[in-house]
Protein backbone atom coordinates (compact mmCIF):
# COMPACT_ATOMS: atom_id res chain seq x y z
CA UNK A 1 0.00 0.00 0.00
CA UNK A 2 2.99 2.27 0.54
CA UNK A 3 3.01 4.92 -2.15
CA UNK A 4 -0.48 4.05 -3.40
CA UNK A 5 -2.72 7.07 -3.72
CA UNK A 6 -6.44 7.51 -3.16
CA UNK A 7 -8.62 7.59 -6.26
CA UNK A 8 -10.60 10.78 -6.82
CA UNK A 9 -13.65 10.41 -9.08
CA UNK A 10 -16.06 13.13 -10.02
CA UNK A 11 -19.59 12.47 -11.25
CA UNK A 12 -22.69 14.33 -12.26
CA UNK A 13 -25.99 12.49 -12.39
CA UNK A 14 -25.84 12.25 -16.19
CA UNK A 15 -22.68 12.13 -18.28
CA UNK A 16 -23.54 15.41 -20.06
CA UNK A 17 -25.21 18.63 -19.00
CA UNK A 18 -28.03 20.46 -20.77
CA UNK A 19 -26.94 23.30 -23.03
CA UNK A 20 -28.61 26.64 -23.54
CA UNK A 21 -29.30 27.69 -19.94
CA UNK A 22 -27.69 28.59 -16.66
CA UNK A 23 -28.05 25.76 -14.21
CA UNK A 24 -27.38 24.41 -10.75
CA UNK A 25 -25.81 20.99 -10.73
CA UNK A 26 -24.84 18.56 -7.96
CA UNK A 27 -21.40 17.04 -8.32
CA UNK A 28 -20.33 13.96 -6.41
CA UNK A 29 -16.65 13.80 -5.51
CA UNK A 30 -15.77 10.30 -4.35
CA UNK A 31 -12.42 9.78 -2.65
CA UNK A 32 -11.48 6.10 -2.42
CA UNK A 33 -8.31 5.25 -0.52
CA UNK A 34 -6.62 2.02 -1.67
CA UNK A 35 -7.76 -1.32 -0.17
CA UNK A 36 -5.90 -2.43 2.95
CA UNK A 37 -3.31 -5.15 2.43
CA UNK A 38 -4.88 -8.52 3.03
CA UNK A 39 -2.25 -9.83 5.47
CA UNK A 40 -2.43 -6.71 7.65
CA UNK A 41 1.38 -6.65 7.63
CA UNK A 42 1.52 -2.91 7.18
CA UNK A 43 -0.96 -2.06 9.90
CA UNK A 44 -0.15 0.96 11.95
CA UNK A 45 0.77 0.53 15.61
CA UNK A 46 -1.84 1.68 18.09
CA UNK A 47 -1.18 3.75 21.19
CA UNK A 48 -4.55 3.67 22.88
CA UNK A 49 -6.04 4.74 26.18
CA UNK A 50 -9.46 3.46 27.21
CA UNK A 51 -11.05 5.98 29.56
CA UNK A 52 -13.98 4.21 31.18
CA UNK A 53 -16.77 5.73 33.25
CA UNK A 54 -17.45 3.76 36.44
CA UNK A 55 -19.93 6.21 37.97
CA UNK A 56 -23.03 4.79 39.67
CA UNK A 57 -25.24 4.82 36.58
CA UNK A 58 -22.82 2.51 34.77
CA UNK A 59 -23.85 -0.36 37.02
CA UNK A 60 -25.33 -3.66 35.87
CA UNK A 61 -25.50 -4.61 32.20
CA UNK A 62 -23.74 -1.44 31.00
CA UNK A 63 -20.59 -2.16 32.98
CA UNK A 64 -20.57 -5.81 31.96
CA UNK A 65 -20.89 -4.89 28.29
CA UNK A 66 -18.24 -2.18 28.57
CA UNK A 67 -15.87 -4.69 30.17
CA UNK A 68 -16.66 -7.21 27.48
CA UNK A 69 -15.96 -4.59 24.78
CA UNK A 70 -12.70 -3.55 26.46
CA UNK A 71 -11.64 -7.21 26.68
CA UNK A 72 -12.46 -7.59 22.99
CA UNK A 73 -10.24 -4.58 22.33
CA UNK A 74 -7.36 -6.22 24.22
CA UNK A 75 -7.79 -9.38 22.14
CA UNK A 76 -7.53 -7.43 18.88
CA UNK A 77 -4.29 -5.67 19.80
CA UNK A 78 -0.77 -6.85 19.00
CA UNK A 79 2.22 -6.89 21.35
CA UNK A 80 3.64 -3.93 19.40
CA UNK A 81 0.61 -1.83 20.37
CA UNK A 82 0.32 0.07 23.64
CA UNK A 83 -2.74 0.18 25.86
CA UNK A 84 -3.62 2.01 29.04
CA UNK A 85 -6.89 2.01 30.96
CA UNK A 86 -8.17 4.92 33.05
CA UNK A 87 -11.31 4.56 35.14
CA UNK A 88 -13.23 7.40 36.68
CA UNK A 89 -16.10 8.39 38.88
CA UNK A 90 -15.49 11.40 41.13
CA UNK A 91 -11.95 10.03 41.49
CA UNK A 92 -9.71 9.28 38.50
CA UNK A 93 -7.53 6.21 38.64
CA UNK A 94 -5.01 4.93 36.13
CA UNK A 95 -5.95 1.26 36.29
CA UNK A 96 -3.43 0.13 33.68
CA UNK A 97 -0.49 2.46 32.93
CA UNK A 98 0.46 2.54 29.26
CA UNK A 99 2.23 -0.69 28.32
CA UNK A 100 2.82 -3.01 25.38
CA UNK A 101 -0.07 -5.45 25.00
CA UNK A 102 1.87 -8.54 26.04
CA UNK A 103 -0.03 -9.99 29.00
CA UNK A 104 -3.53 -10.01 27.51
CA UNK A 105 -5.08 -12.18 30.21
CA UNK A 106 -3.65 -10.04 33.01
CA UNK A 107 -5.06 -6.90 31.34
CA UNK A 108 -8.50 -8.44 30.98
CA UNK A 109 -8.52 -9.58 34.62
CA UNK A 110 -7.84 -6.00 35.76
CA UNK A 111 -10.59 -4.61 33.53
CA UNK A 112 -13.11 -7.15 34.77
CA UNK A 113 -12.55 -6.14 38.39
CA UNK A 114 -13.93 -2.62 37.78
CA UNK A 115 -17.30 -1.93 39.42
CA UNK A 116 -19.58 1.09 39.28
CA UNK A 117 -19.47 3.82 41.99
CA UNK A 118 -19.98 7.59 42.41
CA UNK A 119 -20.25 10.70 40.19
CA UNK A 120 -18.52 11.68 36.95
CA UNK A 121 -15.11 13.45 36.73
CA UNK A 122 -15.09 13.14 32.96
CA UNK A 123 -12.68 15.94 32.16
CA UNK A 124 -9.85 14.93 34.47
CA UNK A 125 -10.19 11.32 33.37
CA UNK A 126 -9.84 12.38 29.74
CA UNK A 127 -6.73 14.40 30.63
CA UNK A 128 -5.21 11.38 32.45
CA UNK A 129 -5.93 9.11 29.50
CA UNK A 130 -4.35 11.69 27.20
CA UNK A 131 -1.25 11.73 29.40
CA UNK A 132 -0.91 7.96 29.20
CA UNK A 133 -0.92 8.22 25.43
CA UNK A 134 1.30 11.32 25.31
CA UNK A 135 4.04 9.74 27.41
CA UNK A 136 4.56 7.24 24.61
CA UNK A 137 3.52 9.43 21.71
CA UNK A 138 4.91 8.05 18.49
CA UNK A 139 4.52 9.66 15.08
CA UNK A 140 4.27 6.20 13.47
CA UNK A 141 1.33 5.12 15.68
CA UNK A 142 -2.31 6.07 15.90
CA UNK A 143 -2.32 7.93 19.23
CA UNK A 144 -5.85 7.91 20.56
CA UNK A 145 -7.97 8.24 23.67
CA UNK A 146 -11.28 6.41 23.67
CA UNK A 147 -13.64 8.00 26.20
CA UNK A 148 -16.57 5.83 27.27
CA UNK A 149 -19.33 7.34 29.39
CA UNK A 150 -23.05 7.19 30.07
CA UNK A 151 -23.32 10.35 32.11
CA UNK A 152 -22.88 14.07 32.40
CA UNK A 153 -19.60 15.60 33.53
CA UNK A 154 -20.46 16.83 37.03
CA UNK A 155 -17.15 16.90 38.88
CA UNK A 156 -14.22 19.16 37.94
CA UNK A 157 -14.31 21.09 34.70
CA UNK A 158 -17.79 20.72 33.22
CA UNK A 159 -17.92 23.56 30.70
CA UNK A 160 -18.60 21.97 27.31
CA UNK A 161 -16.90 24.59 25.12
CA UNK A 162 -13.80 24.52 27.26
CA UNK A 163 -13.48 20.72 27.20
CA UNK A 164 -13.99 20.68 23.42
CA UNK A 165 -11.37 23.35 22.90
CA UNK A 166 -8.90 21.45 25.09
CA UNK A 167 -9.52 18.26 23.10
CA UNK A 168 -8.82 20.20 19.94
CA UNK A 169 -5.61 21.49 21.52
CA UNK A 170 -4.50 17.95 22.30
CA UNK A 171 -5.33 16.81 18.75
CA UNK A 172 -3.15 19.60 17.37
CA UNK A 173 -0.36 18.08 19.48
CA UNK A 174 -0.78 14.61 18.01
CA UNK A 175 -3.37 12.79 20.18
CA UNK A 176 -6.90 12.27 18.90
CA UNK A 177 -10.00 11.37 20.94
CA UNK A 178 -13.04 9.27 20.08
CA UNK A 179 -16.10 9.16 22.32
CA UNK A 180 -18.65 6.46 23.07
CA UNK A 181 -21.88 7.62 24.70
CA UNK A 182 -24.02 4.90 26.24
CA UNK A 183 -27.78 5.00 26.73
CA UNK A 184 -29.92 8.13 26.83
CA UNK A 185 -28.52 10.22 29.71
CA UNK A 186 -25.16 11.51 28.51
CA UNK A 187 -24.52 14.85 26.85
CA UNK A 188 -24.25 14.38 23.09
CA UNK A 189 -23.67 18.13 22.75
CA UNK A 190 -20.35 17.48 24.48
CA UNK A 191 -19.38 14.09 23.07
CA UNK A 192 -20.05 14.78 19.36
CA UNK A 193 -18.29 18.18 19.16
CA UNK A 194 -15.46 16.80 21.30
CA UNK A 195 -14.75 13.90 18.93
CA UNK A 196 -15.15 16.11 15.89
CA UNK A 197 -12.71 18.73 17.22
CA UNK A 198 -10.31 16.04 18.40
CA UNK A 199 -9.97 14.18 15.11
CA UNK A 200 -11.83 11.08 16.31
CA UNK A 201 -15.23 9.46 15.93
CA UNK A 202 -18.37 9.91 17.98
CA UNK A 203 -20.31 6.72 18.66
CA UNK A 204 -23.61 6.15 20.36
CA UNK A 205 -24.44 2.83 21.96
CA UNK A 206 -28.19 2.80 22.41
CA UNK A 207 -28.24 -0.66 23.95
CA UNK A 208 -25.37 -2.14 25.98
CA UNK A 209 -25.38 -5.16 23.63
CA UNK A 210 -24.13 -2.88 20.82
CA UNK A 211 -20.98 -1.97 22.69
CA UNK A 212 -18.74 -4.66 21.27
CA UNK A 213 -19.84 -3.88 17.70
CA UNK A 214 -19.07 -0.18 18.13
CA UNK A 215 -15.64 -1.01 19.55
CA UNK A 216 -15.04 -3.26 16.56
CA UNK A 217 -15.93 -0.44 14.14
CA UNK A 218 -13.71 2.04 15.98
CA UNK A 219 -10.77 -0.38 16.03
CA UNK A 220 -11.24 -1.27 12.38
CA UNK A 221 -11.21 2.43 11.57
CA UNK A 222 -8.00 2.95 13.53
CA UNK A 223 -6.32 0.04 11.83
CA UNK A 224 -7.52 1.10 8.40
CA UNK A 225 -6.37 4.68 8.76
CA UNK A 226 -4.86 5.66 5.43
CA UNK A 227 -4.33 9.38 5.76
CA UNK A 228 -4.99 12.20 8.17
CA UNK A 229 -5.05 16.01 7.99
CA UNK A 230 -7.27 15.68 4.94
CA UNK A 231 -8.39 18.82 3.16
CA UNK A 232 -10.17 19.67 -0.05
CA UNK A 233 -9.51 22.84 -2.02
CA UNK A 234 -11.91 23.94 -4.76
CA UNK A 235 -11.00 26.34 -7.54
CA UNK A 236 -14.02 26.96 -9.77
CA UNK A 237 -13.41 28.29 -13.27
CA UNK A 238 -14.55 31.75 -14.33
CA UNK A 239 -18.32 32.02 -14.30
CA UNK A 240 -18.72 28.95 -12.06
CA UNK A 241 -19.74 29.32 -8.42
CA UNK A 242 -19.69 26.74 -5.62
CA UNK A 243 -23.01 27.52 -3.93
CA UNK A 244 -23.02 24.74 -1.35
CA UNK A 245 -21.06 21.81 0.05
CA UNK A 246 -23.70 19.45 1.34
CA UNK A 247 -21.43 17.75 3.90
CA UNK A 248 -21.12 21.05 5.78
CA UNK A 249 -17.41 20.51 6.38
CA UNK A 250 -15.57 23.22 8.27
CA UNK A 251 -13.34 25.63 6.37
CA UNK A 252 -9.66 25.77 7.34
CA UNK A 253 -7.62 28.95 7.63
CA UNK A 254 -6.47 28.59 4.04
CA UNK A 255 -10.00 28.35 2.66
CA UNK A 256 -9.96 24.57 2.28
CA UNK A 257 -12.58 22.19 3.59
CA UNK A 258 -11.42 19.99 6.45
CA UNK A 259 -12.34 16.37 5.68
CA UNK A 260 -12.41 13.36 8.01
CA UNK A 261 -9.51 10.87 8.04
CA UNK A 262 -9.25 8.61 5.01
CA UNK A 263 -9.79 4.94 5.77
CA UNK A 264 -8.35 2.25 3.54
CA UNK A 265 -11.00 0.83 1.22
CA UNK A 266 -13.86 3.10 2.45
CA UNK A 267 -14.96 5.74 -0.01
CA UNK A 268 -15.70 9.24 1.24
CA UNK A 269 -18.47 11.03 -0.65
CA UNK A 270 -18.47 14.81 -0.91
CA UNK A 271 -21.26 16.62 -2.76
CA UNK A 272 -20.84 20.11 -4.21
CA UNK A 273 -23.59 22.23 -5.62
CA UNK A 274 -22.35 24.37 -8.51
CA UNK A 275 -23.92 27.20 -10.45
CA UNK A 276 -22.82 26.97 -14.08
CA UNK A 277 -23.02 29.52 -16.88
CA UNK A 278 -24.89 28.88 -20.13
CA UNK A 279 -23.01 26.88 -22.76
CA UNK A 280 -23.79 25.69 -26.29
CA UNK A 281 -24.41 22.04 -27.19
CA UNK A 282 -21.20 20.23 -28.08
CA UNK A 283 -19.07 22.57 -26.01
CA UNK A 284 -16.73 21.19 -23.35
CA UNK A 285 -15.92 23.17 -20.27
CA UNK A 286 -13.41 22.73 -17.46
CA UNK A 287 -15.57 23.74 -14.54
CA UNK A 288 -13.52 23.03 -11.48
CA UNK A 289 -10.05 22.19 -10.19
CA UNK A 290 -9.87 20.09 -7.04
CA UNK A 291 -6.96 19.69 -4.67
CA UNK A 292 -7.06 16.90 -2.14
CA UNK A 293 -4.39 17.30 0.54
CA UNK A 294 -3.61 14.54 3.06
CA UNK A 295 -0.80 13.13 5.11
CA UNK A 296 -0.38 9.42 4.46
CA UNK A 297 0.25 7.32 7.54
CA UNK A 298 3.89 6.98 8.44
CA UNK A 299 4.75 9.75 6.01
CA UNK A 300 6.16 13.01 7.24
CA UNK A 301 4.94 15.42 4.63
CA UNK A 302 1.58 16.17 3.10
CA UNK A 303 0.62 14.98 -0.37
CA UNK A 304 -1.59 16.85 -2.78
CA UNK A 305 -3.66 15.22 -5.51
CA UNK A 306 -4.98 17.46 -8.24
CA UNK A 307 -7.95 16.72 -10.45
CA UNK A 308 -9.59 18.88 -13.06
CA UNK A 309 -13.27 18.32 -13.79
CA UNK A 310 -14.48 18.82 -17.33
CA UNK A 311 -18.02 18.39 -18.62
CA UNK A 312 -19.64 18.29 -22.01
CA UNK A 313 -22.89 20.08 -22.84
CA UNK A 314 -25.61 18.65 -25.10
CA UNK A 315 -29.20 19.39 -26.11
CA UNK A 316 -31.60 18.88 -23.20
CA UNK A 317 -33.41 16.04 -25.02
CA UNK A 318 -30.17 14.15 -25.52
CA UNK A 319 -29.21 14.60 -21.87
CA UNK A 320 -32.62 13.27 -20.80
CA UNK A 321 -32.00 10.08 -22.77
CA UNK A 322 -28.66 9.41 -21.02
CA UNK A 323 -28.76 6.94 -18.13
CA UNK A 324 -28.94 8.56 -14.68
CA UNK A 325 -26.32 7.49 -12.10
CA UNK A 326 -28.27 6.66 -8.93
CA UNK A 327 -25.10 7.01 -6.81
CA UNK A 328 -25.23 10.78 -7.27
CA UNK A 329 -28.85 11.18 -6.19
CA UNK A 330 -28.21 8.78 -3.32
CA UNK A 331 -25.27 10.84 -2.03
CA UNK A 332 -27.31 14.05 -2.35
CA UNK A 333 -30.27 12.55 -0.53
CA UNK A 334 -28.23 11.11 2.36
CA UNK A 335 -26.54 14.45 2.97
CA UNK A 336 -29.81 16.37 2.74
CA UNK A 337 -31.28 13.92 5.22
CA UNK A 338 -28.32 14.55 7.54
CA UNK A 339 -29.29 18.22 7.42
CA UNK A 340 -32.92 17.32 8.03
CA UNK A 341 -31.84 15.47 11.19
CA UNK A 342 -29.97 18.49 12.51
CA UNK A 343 -32.92 20.69 11.68
CA UNK A 344 -35.23 18.34 13.57
CA UNK A 345 -32.92 18.59 16.58
CA UNK A 346 -33.10 22.41 16.44
CA UNK A 347 -36.87 22.20 16.32
CA UNK A 348 -36.90 19.82 19.29
CA UNK A 349 -34.67 22.18 21.22
CA UNK A 350 -37.14 24.99 20.56
CA UNK A 351 -39.91 22.75 21.84
CA UNK A 352 -41.51 22.45 18.40
CA UNK A 353 -41.86 18.66 18.24
CA UNK A 354 -44.46 18.79 15.48
CA UNK A 355 -41.97 20.58 13.22
CA UNK A 356 -39.30 18.02 14.07
CA UNK A 357 -41.65 15.17 13.17
CA UNK A 358 -42.59 16.89 9.87
CA UNK A 359 -38.96 17.34 8.82
CA UNK A 360 -38.21 13.69 9.53
CA UNK A 361 -41.40 12.62 7.78
CA UNK A 362 -40.28 14.48 4.64
CA UNK A 363 -36.85 12.87 4.86
CA UNK A 364 -38.49 9.47 5.24
CA UNK A 365 -40.61 10.03 2.13
CA UNK A 366 -37.51 10.94 0.12
CA UNK A 367 -35.72 7.85 1.42
CA UNK A 368 -38.61 5.70 0.16
CA UNK A 369 -38.20 7.17 -3.31
CA UNK A 370 -34.49 6.32 -3.12
CA UNK A 371 -35.30 2.74 -2.09
CA UNK A 372 -37.63 2.46 -5.07
CA UNK A 373 -34.88 3.55 -7.46
CA UNK A 374 -32.19 1.38 -5.77
CA UNK A 375 -34.04 -1.64 -4.39
CA UNK A 376 -30.89 -3.63 -3.63
CA UNK A 377 -28.97 -0.83 -1.93
CA UNK A 378 -28.18 -1.50 1.74
CA UNK A 379 -27.55 2.17 2.62
CA UNK A 380 -30.89 3.24 1.17
CA UNK A 381 -32.68 0.48 3.09
CA UNK A 382 -30.90 1.33 6.37
CA UNK A 383 -31.72 5.00 5.89
CA UNK A 384 -35.43 4.53 5.39
CA UNK A 385 -35.58 1.99 8.23
CA UNK A 386 -33.97 4.40 10.69
CA UNK A 387 -36.18 7.30 9.58
CA UNK A 388 -39.26 5.12 9.84
CA UNK A 389 -38.45 4.32 13.48
CA UNK A 390 -37.69 7.98 14.18
CA UNK A 391 -40.96 9.29 12.70
CA UNK A 392 -42.77 6.86 15.00
CA UNK A 393 -40.93 7.84 18.18
CA UNK A 394 -41.08 11.57 17.39
CA UNK A 395 -44.82 11.44 16.80
CA UNK A 396 -45.46 9.42 19.93
CA UNK A 397 -43.09 10.97 22.41
CA UNK A 398 -41.87 14.28 20.97
CA UNK A 399 -39.24 15.22 23.52
CA UNK A 400 -37.59 11.81 23.66
CA UNK A 401 -33.89 12.27 24.45
CA UNK A 402 -32.96 8.97 22.80
CA UNK A 403 -34.40 10.19 19.47
CA UNK A 404 -32.39 13.38 19.79
CA UNK A 405 -29.22 11.32 20.21
CA UNK A 406 -30.01 9.04 17.29
CA UNK A 407 -30.68 12.09 15.10
CA UNK A 408 -27.45 13.83 16.06
CA UNK A 409 -25.25 10.78 15.74
CA UNK A 410 -26.61 9.54 12.44
CA UNK A 411 -26.37 13.06 10.97
CA UNK A 412 -22.68 13.02 11.91
CA UNK A 413 -22.09 9.58 10.39
CA UNK A 414 -23.86 10.45 7.13
CA UNK A 415 -21.89 13.66 6.75
CA UNK A 416 -18.60 11.78 6.93
CA UNK A 417 -19.65 8.66 4.92
CA UNK A 418 -19.01 6.53 8.00
CA UNK A 419 -21.03 3.40 8.65
CA UNK A 420 -21.80 1.94 12.02
CA UNK A 421 -22.67 -1.47 10.61
Amino acid sequence: MRGAKPRVEIFTERAKLAAGREQTVDVLVRVTPPEPEADGSSRRRLNLSLVLDRSGSMGGAKMLRAQDAAAYCVDQLLPADRLSVVIFDDVVEVLVPSQPVEDKEGLKRLINRVSARNSTALHEAWVRGGMQVSEHLDAGSVNRVLLITDGLANVGLTNTDEIVSQAKGLFERGVSTSTVGIGADFNEDLLIPLARAAGGNAWHVAEPEDMRRIFAVELEGLLAQFGHDVSLGLVPSDGVRVTDLLNDFELTETGRYRLPDLQAGSPLDVVLRLRLPERRAGERMRILDLKLGYTPREARGAEVLKEAFEVEFAEAAEVERLPADPEVSKAVLLLMNARARREAVSSMDRGDYAAAARVIDDAYTSSLRLCASMPADADAAAESEELYRLTGSLRERGSDSMSRKILQYSADLLRTSRKKR
Binding site: E124, E162, Q166, V175, V235, K306
Partner: protein, 216 residues
Protein backbone atom coordinates in the same frame (compact mmCIF):
# COMPACT_ATOMS: atom_id res chain seq x y z
CA UNK B 1 11.58 20.54 6.61
CA UNK B 2 11.97 20.90 10.37
CA UNK B 3 15.59 19.78 10.20
CA UNK B 4 16.44 22.50 7.66
CA UNK B 5 14.60 25.14 9.65
CA UNK B 6 16.42 24.20 12.86
CA UNK B 7 19.70 24.72 11.07
CA UNK B 8 18.57 28.06 9.64
CA UNK B 9 17.24 29.50 12.89
CA UNK B 10 20.36 31.46 13.88
CA UNK B 11 21.51 32.42 10.38
CA UNK B 12 21.37 35.85 8.74
CA UNK B 13 21.12 36.36 5.01
CA UNK B 14 22.72 39.25 3.17
CA UNK B 15 20.48 40.99 0.67
CA UNK B 16 17.34 39.81 -1.09
CA UNK B 17 19.55 37.54 -3.19
CA UNK B 18 20.98 35.85 -0.09
CA UNK B 19 17.53 35.25 1.38
CA UNK B 20 16.19 33.88 -1.93
CA UNK B 21 19.17 31.57 -2.26
CA UNK B 22 18.70 30.11 1.22
CA UNK B 23 14.96 29.54 0.64
CA UNK B 24 15.67 27.91 -2.73
CA UNK B 25 18.27 25.64 -1.14
CA UNK B 26 15.88 24.53 1.62
CA UNK B 27 13.05 23.96 -0.83
CA UNK B 28 15.12 21.82 -3.14
CA UNK B 29 16.97 19.85 -0.43
CA UNK B 30 13.94 19.15 1.73
CA UNK B 31 11.83 18.13 -1.25
CA UNK B 32 9.48 20.97 -0.32
CA UNK B 33 9.42 22.15 -3.91
CA UNK B 34 8.09 18.83 -5.12
CA UNK B 35 4.31 18.72 -5.13
CA UNK B 36 2.29 15.64 -5.95
CA UNK B 37 1.95 14.73 -9.64
CA UNK B 38 5.27 16.26 -10.46
CA UNK B 39 4.31 19.93 -10.44
CA UNK B 40 7.19 21.87 -8.99
CA UNK B 41 7.03 25.04 -6.95
CA UNK B 42 9.04 27.72 -8.67
CA UNK B 43 12.14 28.48 -6.62
CA UNK B 44 12.33 32.08 -5.36
CA UNK B 45 14.93 34.49 -6.71
CA UNK B 46 16.03 38.01 -5.80
CA UNK B 47 13.24 39.61 -7.85
CA UNK B 48 10.56 37.49 -6.19
CA UNK B 49 11.80 38.55 -2.75
CA UNK B 50 11.70 42.25 -3.68
CA UNK B 51 8.23 41.81 -5.14
CA UNK B 52 6.98 40.08 -1.98
CA UNK B 53 8.34 42.91 0.17
CA UNK B 54 6.55 45.50 -2.01
CA UNK B 55 3.35 43.48 -1.76
CA UNK B 56 3.65 43.29 2.02
CA UNK B 57 4.00 39.49 1.99
CA UNK B 58 7.40 39.66 3.72
CA UNK B 59 8.44 42.41 6.13
CA UNK B 60 11.36 44.60 5.02
CA UNK B 61 14.75 43.89 6.59
CA UNK B 62 15.19 45.43 10.01
CA UNK B 63 19.01 45.28 10.04
CA UNK B 64 21.77 46.41 7.71
CA UNK B 65 25.26 45.20 6.97
CA UNK B 66 26.96 48.13 5.35
CA UNK B 67 24.49 49.11 2.66
CA UNK B 68 22.99 45.63 2.26
CA UNK B 69 19.79 44.53 3.99
CA UNK B 70 20.16 41.74 6.52
CA UNK B 71 17.33 39.19 6.70
CA UNK B 72 16.71 36.75 9.55
CA UNK B 73 14.80 33.57 10.36
CA UNK B 74 11.42 35.30 10.41
CA UNK B 75 11.94 36.52 6.84
CA UNK B 76 13.03 33.11 5.66
CA UNK B 77 10.09 31.41 7.32
CA UNK B 78 7.60 33.86 5.87
CA UNK B 79 9.10 33.52 2.40
CA UNK B 80 8.77 29.72 2.58
CA UNK B 81 5.16 29.99 3.75
CA UNK B 82 4.28 32.43 0.97
CA UNK B 83 5.81 30.10 -1.64
CA UNK B 84 3.90 27.16 -0.22
CA UNK B 85 0.56 28.96 -0.17
CA UNK B 86 1.16 30.30 -3.66
CA UNK B 87 1.78 26.79 -4.94
CA UNK B 88 -1.63 25.94 -3.49
CA UNK B 89 -3.11 28.73 -5.67
CA UNK B 90 -4.20 30.80 -2.71
CA UNK B 91 -4.71 34.42 -3.81
CA UNK B 92 -2.08 36.99 -2.74
CA UNK B 93 -4.67 38.95 -0.74
CA UNK B 94 -5.52 35.86 1.28
CA UNK B 95 -1.83 34.97 1.73
CA UNK B 96 -1.15 38.44 3.09
CA UNK B 97 -3.92 37.96 5.66
CA UNK B 98 -2.56 34.56 6.63
CA UNK B 99 1.06 35.56 7.20
CA UNK B 100 0.79 39.07 8.65
CA UNK B 101 1.13 39.37 12.40
CA UNK B 102 1.83 35.65 12.90
CA UNK B 103 4.32 34.32 15.42
CA UNK B 104 7.20 32.16 14.22
CA UNK B 105 5.45 29.14 15.76
CA UNK B 106 2.29 29.86 13.77
CA UNK B 107 4.28 30.26 10.57
CA UNK B 108 6.08 26.98 11.20
CA UNK B 109 2.68 25.41 11.66
CA UNK B 110 1.41 26.83 8.38
CA UNK B 111 4.47 25.35 6.79
CA UNK B 112 3.59 21.96 8.23
CA UNK B 113 7.02 21.81 9.84
CA UNK B 114 5.69 21.70 13.35
CA UNK B 115 3.95 18.36 13.64
CA UNK B 116 6.84 16.43 12.14
CA UNK B 117 9.20 15.87 15.03
CA UNK B 118 7.97 13.02 17.22
CA UNK B 119 10.03 14.01 20.25
CA UNK B 120 9.13 17.67 20.13
CA UNK B 121 5.38 17.11 19.86
CA UNK B 122 5.49 14.39 22.51
CA UNK B 123 6.70 16.82 25.11
CA UNK B 124 4.27 19.35 23.79
CA UNK B 125 1.22 17.09 24.19
CA UNK B 126 2.29 16.04 27.66
CA UNK B 127 3.18 19.57 28.70
CA UNK B 128 -0.16 20.78 27.43
CA UNK B 129 -2.11 18.21 29.45
CA UNK B 130 -0.03 18.88 32.57
CA UNK B 131 -0.83 22.56 32.22
CA UNK B 132 -4.54 21.70 31.98
CA UNK B 133 -4.34 19.72 35.21
CA UNK B 134 -2.44 22.49 37.00
CA UNK B 135 -4.97 25.00 35.83
CA UNK B 136 -7.70 23.00 37.58
CA UNK B 137 -11.39 23.13 36.90
CA UNK B 138 -12.13 26.62 38.19
CA UNK B 139 -11.25 29.50 36.11
CA UNK B 140 -10.65 27.16 33.20
CA UNK B 141 -9.61 29.72 30.62
CA UNK B 142 -7.25 32.58 31.42
CA UNK B 143 -9.39 35.70 31.42
CA UNK B 144 -8.32 38.57 29.19
CA UNK B 145 -5.70 40.67 30.99
CA UNK B 146 -7.86 43.71 31.39
CA UNK B 147 -11.05 41.96 32.45
CA UNK B 148 -11.90 40.83 35.98
CA UNK B 149 -11.87 37.02 36.40
CA UNK B 150 -15.63 36.63 36.56
CA UNK B 151 -15.89 38.09 33.06
CA UNK B 152 -14.40 34.95 31.49
CA UNK B 153 -16.76 34.03 28.71
CA UNK B 154 -16.25 30.33 29.21
CA UNK B 155 -16.57 29.79 32.93
CA UNK B 156 -17.83 32.85 34.78
CA UNK B 157 -21.50 33.73 35.02
CA UNK B 158 -22.39 36.07 32.17
CA UNK B 159 -22.07 39.69 33.21
CA UNK B 160 -25.18 40.68 31.28
CA UNK B 161 -27.83 38.67 29.48
CA UNK B 162 -26.71 37.97 25.91
CA UNK B 163 -27.87 40.68 23.55
CA UNK B 164 -29.83 39.70 20.52
CA UNK B 165 -29.30 41.84 17.45
CA UNK B 166 -31.61 42.05 14.47
CA UNK B 167 -30.84 43.07 10.92
CA UNK B 168 -33.50 44.95 8.94
CA UNK B 169 -33.71 43.96 5.30
CA UNK B 170 -35.98 45.94 2.98
CA UNK B 171 -37.44 43.67 0.31
CA UNK B 172 -39.33 46.45 -1.41
CA UNK B 173 -40.72 49.79 -0.34
CA UNK B 174 -43.14 49.10 2.49
CA UNK B 175 -41.93 45.56 3.18
CA UNK B 176 -39.14 44.76 5.61
CA UNK B 177 -37.88 41.50 7.08
CA UNK B 178 -36.14 41.49 10.46
CA UNK B 179 -33.59 38.73 10.96
CA UNK B 180 -32.08 37.85 14.32
CA UNK B 181 -28.34 37.25 14.25
CA UNK B 182 -28.94 33.82 15.77
CA UNK B 183 -31.30 32.78 13.00
CA UNK B 184 -30.33 29.87 10.79
CA UNK B 185 -32.25 29.55 7.55
CA UNK B 186 -33.75 26.09 6.97
CA UNK B 187 -31.50 23.84 4.94
CA UNK B 188 -33.91 21.28 3.64
CA UNK B 189 -36.24 21.68 0.67
CA UNK B 190 -39.32 20.80 2.71
CA UNK B 191 -38.65 23.31 5.47
CA UNK B 192 -37.82 26.03 2.92
CA UNK B 193 -41.04 25.31 1.09
CA UNK B 194 -43.03 25.60 4.29
CA UNK B 195 -41.31 28.86 5.17
CA UNK B 196 -42.00 30.32 1.72
CA UNK B 197 -45.58 29.16 1.99
CA UNK B 198 -46.15 30.85 5.35
CA UNK B 199 -44.64 34.03 3.93
CA UNK B 200 -46.99 33.90 0.93
CA UNK B 201 -49.94 33.17 3.24
CA UNK B 202 -49.03 36.17 5.33
CA UNK B 203 -48.82 38.45 2.28
CA UNK B 204 -52.16 37.18 0.96
CA UNK B 205 -53.82 37.62 4.33
CA UNK B 206 -52.51 41.17 4.52
CA UNK B 207 -53.61 41.85 0.94
CA UNK B 208 -57.14 40.87 1.99
CA UNK B 209 -57.13 43.68 4.54
CA UNK B 210 -55.85 46.37 2.21
CA UNK B 211 -58.79 48.65 1.35
CA UNK B 212 -59.33 48.57 -2.42
CA UNK B 213 -59.04 51.85 -4.20
CA UNK B 214 -62.49 53.05 -5.11
CA UNK B 215 -64.14 50.33 -2.99
CA UNK B 216 -67.00 51.04 -0.53
Amino acid sequence: MRKWLEAARQRKHVGAAGLAQEAARILSESGGAQQARGTVTELPDERTVRYYITEGLIPPADEKQGTASLFGYRHLLQLLVVKKLQAEHIPIRKIRELVTGRTERQLEKLLGAEAEGGAASKNEALGYLESLLRKGPQPSAPPPAAAPPQASALTGPPAAPPRETWARVELEPGLEVHVSDGYRAPQTEGALRRLTQSFLDLLRARAGHVPRRGGK
